[in-house]
């Protein structure tokens, strides 16, 4: 049986190695991918077009902002689909597993986490807001923020975390993130540009067209961050408790 599965695998492998010898030199700056007008434009003109030093952020949130919107939508879909799959699916009462013991949350753990969580959350904000000049951005910041809530759930229990971030709110926050993203796009459309043409926002805000892009990108990243925060936590909460939202892990 396993022999048969090897056939497609080896077929794909042979195909890929066959092409590998045709690839441009590794790390050569003159390869078609690195030397194309598109990527040269990104490297040379990001500063002029958007004034954002981090090219990745600029390309992500502005040049290819439409992609990123759907990336956010994918996260949103994952969260919604997990809720849809697990809601009311299994036993209402969790089974008691053999390793479970009834005990208060550990004092050392909870106190350490109490100290850690503000730091993590501030770092998450920093990553989100500082994504324009350093690695980071909405997605990473959002994951860190979501991780802080997961940490609460891990060190106390799921109910404690859900009391701070109820499940309805995760859906609302996640939806608002997408609304914020798309809303910036639609707003710039009403101002006369194309969808997601942030430069048009300069017509309402007292900034230059480039700085309008710069600031709109921050707004967009906040939208991404909101969605990702909410969905990461919602994923954990649903998966750890089989959708019951109580007594997880």
């Amino acid at each position: 049986m396993k022999i048969f599965t090897l056939i497609p695998v080896l077929f794909v492998g042979a195909l890929l190695l066959y092409a590998a010898k045709d690839f441009p030199e590794w790390g050569s700056p003159s390869g078609p991918a690195s030397d194309s007008p598109v990527s040269s434009h990104f490297i040379a003109n990001t500063g002029v077009d958007t004034e954002v030093p981090n090219m990745v952020t600029a390309v992500l949130a502005d040049y290819r902002g439409f992609d990123t919107m759907f990336e956010t939508v994918v996260v949103f879909i994952a969260g919604m689909a997990v809720i849809a799959i697990l809601k009311n699916s299994g036993r209402k009462k969790p089974v008691r597993r053999e390793y479970e013991v009834d005990a208060e949350p550990d004092l050392i753990v909870t106190n350490t986490v109490r100290l850690l969580i503000p730091v993590i959350q501030i770092f998450a904000f920093y990553v989100l807001a500082h994504g324009h000049v350093s690695p980071g951005g909405g997605f990473q910041g959002g994951v860190l923020m979501g991780a802080s809530f997961i940490l609460v759930a891990l060190s106390w229990d799921l109910e404690t975390a859900l009391a701070r971030f109820p499940m309805q709110w995760t859906t609302i926050v996640a939806g608002l993130g997408i609304v914020l993203y798309a809303g910036i796009g639609i707003f710039s459309m009403f101002l006369g540009g194309e969808f997601l043409d942030y430069a048009e926002l300069a017509k309402v805000f007292p900034v230059s067209r480039e700085m309008a892009r710069y600031h709109a990108m921050l707004g967009v990243e906040i939208g991404v961050g909101l969605t990702v925060t909410a969905i990461m936590f919602s994923l954990y909460a649903n998966l750890s408790s089989e959708g019951r939202l109580q007594r997880g892990l």
Partner: protein, 82 residues
């Protein structure tokens, strides 16, 4: 040269981690080895200049997706037949 050596070292470790993650019979161990794999990948990407991708992989691949995977495995059987 140093970086090339580092690169090669990580690449080989990656293969080892990938095979190990698929071969271990205990799913929890597999998930943790997969986290190691993700983190090695993150190192490699950081070395290759893809800092944003590395950051994302560190938070997502080695972080949240491992946590989520372990949370799921706790609700399933831990042992795997292969």
């Amino acid at each position: 040269m140093g970086l090339a050596l580092f690169n090669t070292f990580i690449l080989l470790l990656l293969v080892v981690a990938a095979i190990l993650a698929l071969r271990v019979k205990d799913l929890l161990t597999a998930a943790v080895v997969f986290a190691v794999y993700s983190f090695l990948m993150c190192l490699l990407w950081a070395e290759m200049g893809a800092v944003d991708v590395a950051f994302t992989e560190a938070t997502v691949g080695a972080g949240v997706s491992t946590v989520v995977m372990i949370a799921t495995i706790f609700n399933l059987k831990r042992k795997s037949s292969d």
